[in-house]
Amino acid sequence: MSTRLVRPGGGRRAIWLGLVVFLLGVLVAYAATWRPPIEPVARPLPSAFSAAQVERGSALASLGSCAVCHTSEQGATFAGSRALPTPFGTIYTTNITPDVRTGIGAWSREAFRRAMKAGVSRDGHHLYPALPYVHFTHATDEDLDALYAYFMTRQATEAVAPANRLIPPLGFRPLLAGWKLFFLRQTPFEPDPTRSVAWNRGAYLVEGLGHCAACHSPLNSIGGEKQGMAFAGGEAEGWKAPPLDATNPRAGTWSVKALHDYLRGGIEQHHSVAAGPMGPVTHELAQVPEADVSAIAVYVASLMNPSNRVEHSVDVVDRAALAAAAQPQGAEIFAGACAGCHEPGAPMTRERRPLLSTATTVLANSPDNALQAMFSGIHSPEDGQTPYMPSFHDTLTDDQAALLAAYIRLRFTNLPEWSDLRAAASRVRAEEN
């Protein structure tokens, strides 16, 4: 060390050498990740596509919930600019209407296929995996072409998304090529010949365009789905996305019919109302062919119940006196704020709405969704179509929400108490959307 200190020239050489190695590394990485632009095309005329192909693309766009992310609150459908909060910063969705300048109007069919399967934009830049191409890559070319036909025949809207706000250095897109080496497997869907046609159709949709695992799987620290844990439950916009496999606490009660009714109608009497980001998904699924929703239900039911043993009994637990004695403050809040709708026998409970004793949210291992429902409420993507719950964000403190959650858990289940509710309430309030 001391010799180096008296020979500053040597230190400078080391710095130069380091810089050269670094720049070479960058160059090699750039060469390995560079993708050529695909030449722009004249926007195809609607007459270039058959009505049947466009109709098929319409159903596939609903199955993929494309409009949910690619539409902002005030904006035109598919014109993008919706902010997607991620642990890495905010990404704004792009305009996928056929506007030539600001949308995908100049994209060829090949450019569209490449974006969906390899996550590369027409001009060659890498797309962030917020576009779930790790799933879309399993779709057939025929289906991708149908989607292309559908988007190319939509109303062109001029709209430029705001610039993404990501933590450095993630704004440097070539880094995504490294991410893809780990997480993108460009393999076609392989049907399982031992399973039914419906199961295979469901598997194809769930694993591909439906991209269910994008929310319902745990993610690792760099935003990739954890290996071997597909469908073990994840998070989306401050809500827990429950497991879709046998680890779901109520896996045994989700029959094919229950899943179908939930996915199609946004509500299932003995389980749940689709809340948070699942609401718009069920709204989209209400518009696809019936057989596709049934197929998805068949496949998800097989994930949740591999041995195909479905319990049909519904346990209605109501330990009102016990809970009131143990959680008197929670009982008071429930009586004044919740009972009008949720007390057994209240008018709402006669409208085929889930009782709290069978609600997935109350029976879940985590209190997050129950607290999230209190703070955010439940809003229908289309007014009056699915159940509504007002938000108690401004009237309940974290302590009061925690006391209320403890009371509800104790009264309507036989399950262990939720722990650290006060801290959970503060955390969920901070994540609220």
Partner: protein, 168 residues
């Protein structure tokens, strides 16, 4: 049970079950009859009051959760002879037909204008979304809120403070 509430700038002591929704205490015990019972489910907004400045459904707010918080009702904004700015704007635009929803509309609008004195039309519409009017006077209500915003802008700062004094 005795409960201490802070309503329209004053401490009020009421004898009530802690689970009683604020709406009933306002109307039955404190004789503040501006807030109305509509649906009892948080779906119509006729019962809207301000709790710590935010619009809240008083029919779904048990008095048990109001310790240390301040409540403001339409009576706290002004009187028939000295109406508050928002009340005056609703009157000028003749925004009430049957009037049942109006106290709730005014209180939700007040919560918006307290926070954002110059809201855009889109902000007004999004903010007022929870409150319903069955007579269909929505266009007049929206006009009244815009007018209130303009009246607030034209007011000298000293007089804006005067309306806030009533805020508990």
């Amino acid at each position: 049970m005795t409960i201490k509430l802070h309503v329209n700038g004053q401490d009020r002591i009421v004898r009530s079950d802690p689970s009683t929704p604020l709406l009933y205490v306002l109307r039955n015990d404190l004789e503040l009859n501006g807030a109305k019972y509509g649906c009892g489910l948080g779906q119509c907004g006729a019962c809207t009051v301000q709790v710590d400045g935010n619009a809240a459904f008083s029919c779904l707010t048990p008095v048990a959760v109001l310790e240390g918080k301040s409540v403001r009702t339409v009576e706290g904004l002004g009187t028939a002879t000295h109406p508050g700015v928002v009340q005056r704007a609703f009157e000028l635009e003749q925004a009430a037909q049957c009037g049942y929803c109006i106290a709730g509309m005014i209180m939700r609008a007040q919560a918006l204008l307290d926070r954002e004195p110059n809201p855009s039309d889109a902000e007004i519409r999004a903010h007022m979304q929870p409150n319903l009017c069955r007579c269909g006077t929505h266009m007049r209500i929206l006009r009244a809120i815009r007018r209130a915003s303009e009246m607030l802008k034209a007011m000298p700062a000293s007089r804006k403070g005067a309306t806030d004094e009533r805020h508990g």
